[in-house]
Symmetry: C2
Subunit: 332 residues, 2 copies
């Protein structure tokens, strides 16, 4: 009998998925499997010292756990919201963390010598996660759209993450679809984000409720306007397919969302368009409505197939898994 | 003294750049240099037989010339306007040639056995040409926009041509920038092409002439509306910087063009955006106006540099050179 010795079996990546409300720590093995998790509350908004101190604490917890498990941490990797200079390891600007120009890599290297450190924008991390372990894993060219408070995204070209010069591309929410339209937070008018985010959907729902006092959407929110969220119009329409108010809200949202998706079809003609974020919880119901809208406007003389549209599968783990793969694939 | 024998010195690619009005034949060496050219008038619009017969004639001329020059034709490559199935060698649809579902590769193979045959869409060919021998050759990520009758384009990602699934992507003119706006020939509303093509510019110029009867643009066209072309407003404004009519036309065009360019900045954050086609003859004058517009709206919290914008350099040779490189890089 031959005993194979797998020296690398116990090697793990220490990953932290940094969000506005919590920091999710994890140990991930080389197959992209999360083998340990530890989550802490986010530090006070805007304090660089408290941010770093909380991250260092979480790293210690994860390192101790790895030691107990007899695992070797071969790299650290961070998924971070905002404009992240991946090459130099700098948080250039993060609205969610209220941090600007923080040389995060230097702070980490000063404390943890001799361990490779990686970081990337959270939408890019989630995209890579979906492309490696999620529903997009068999496709070469992927466009990933996250429909949350804003609209984020990521691009996979020929199985590789594409993030543009200085990792500053793939700002898929900031494509204007109405250059004389709504003002976006970025300063331009008509950005896709201003029309297709969950926030926009909530606004359409408010308008619909005000316009249709007899809509069943009122029942969905128990007549309390504070209960509005992105699922109200969809859930109402599923139960009452003839409800005018819910139909108007959903149709409006689907129109804007689909027009942006059509743009990305024509630009990238990807193998698959993946939808994540809160709105993606509508699953196939959402996908069918998008396909119904798109089939009449797809470019290519009606002969080009609409790319496959699917909702993302890894949910909240996408960023952790993607950050782990980013380290694994860039380790020398 | 040692004599080096370069067996490959005389190897050439036979290239035909097929256009709506002429077919430009060429022999291109392995350094991407055009060493022989022969141009013929396009065959009658819409006749498959006449199209093939004209192409076969041109191939014969080029083959004879190669023989005389003691050159070996190692591949044939075609740059073709329209929806081209590069993989299977099919002209799926070409508005400019009025051809549909022509199995061009099969026709060629039947006649010219044992020679590798390549074909690709003309905008993709031009993009590859500019990326190999033109001004974009030192950049990894390139967005190329051709502003002609329509708006075409091509994408280079990590030094490679990216054309999407079935080579049907990079339809950069068919990104809607005003989803409730002008109807485009593709059936959607508000496509970039409908606002930023040379044809759109001519329309703005007509409107400007009608609105401003005292504009110096009238002098530029010798008071004859038949002399309108895409350069009238620009040429007038260069000579008379205070001409209201010319200024309004140019500002309108620059606004639409720049909004589309800003979208491509945010999506791709390329290293360089290259502008070709008729409008690009305005050179630095055009580029400066685009940069002036873009600098206030560039995403990235004003901290991200606007990608370098330049006008293309290879002009009418871009497609020939690109098609040659496409063959060279895909030959086994």
């Amino acid at each position: 009998m031959v005993f194979k010795i797998h020296n690398t079996l116990n090697e793990v990546i220490l990953v932290i998925d940094i969000g506005g409300t919590s920091y999710k720590g994890a140990l991930v093995n080389k197959d992209g499997e999360i083998i340990y998790r530890y989550k802490i509350k986010a530090a006070d908004y805007g304090s660089k010292e408290k941010f770093l101190s909380a991250i260092f604490d979480l790293i210690s917890k994860l390192n101790i756990k790895a030691k107990i498990n007899n695992q070797k941490v071969i790299a650290m990797s961070f998924s971070i919201p905002g404009a992240i200079d991946t090459e130099h390891g700098i948080i250039k600007y993060s609205n969610n963390l209220d941090l600007e120009n923080l040389n995060f890599k230097k702070e980490l290297i000063d404390k943890y010598k001799n361990i490779p450190i990686f970081m990337l924008n959270d939408a890019n991390a989630a995209t890579l996660g979906e492309a490696r372990k999620g529903i997009a894993k068999d496709y070469a060219n992927v466009v990933f759209l996250t429909l949350g408070t804003g609209v984020g995204g990521g691009i996979i070209i020929n199985h590789k993450l594409y993030a543009g010069s200085q990792f500053m591309g793939a700002e898929l929410g900031h494509m204007s679809i109405d250059i004389n339209g709504k003002l976006c937070t970025c300063g331009r008018k008509g950005c896709f984000e201003a029309y297709a985010s969950a926030r926009a959907l909530v606004n359409y729902t408010k308008e619909g409720l005000n316009k249709y006092k007899d809509s069943k959407m009122w029942r969905e929110i128990n007549n309390d306007i504070n209960n509005i969220n992105g699922s109200v119009s969809f859930e109402t329409l599923k139960k009452y397919p003839n409800d005018f108010g819910a139909k108007e809200v959903v149709n409006k949202y689907i129109k804007y969302l689909s027009e942006g998706i059509l743009n990305y079809c024509n630009i990238f003609r990807p193998d698959i368009i993946l939808i994540g974020g809160g709105v993606s919880e509508q699953g196939d119901y959402l996908v069918n409505l998008i396909n119904d809208y798109c089939k009449n406007y797809n470019y290519g003389f009606k002969s080009t197939p609409i790319p496959l549209i699917k909702t993302a599968t890894l949910k909240n783990d996408a960023g952790i898994i993607g950050a782990a793969y980013f380290a694994l694939e860039n380790l020398k």
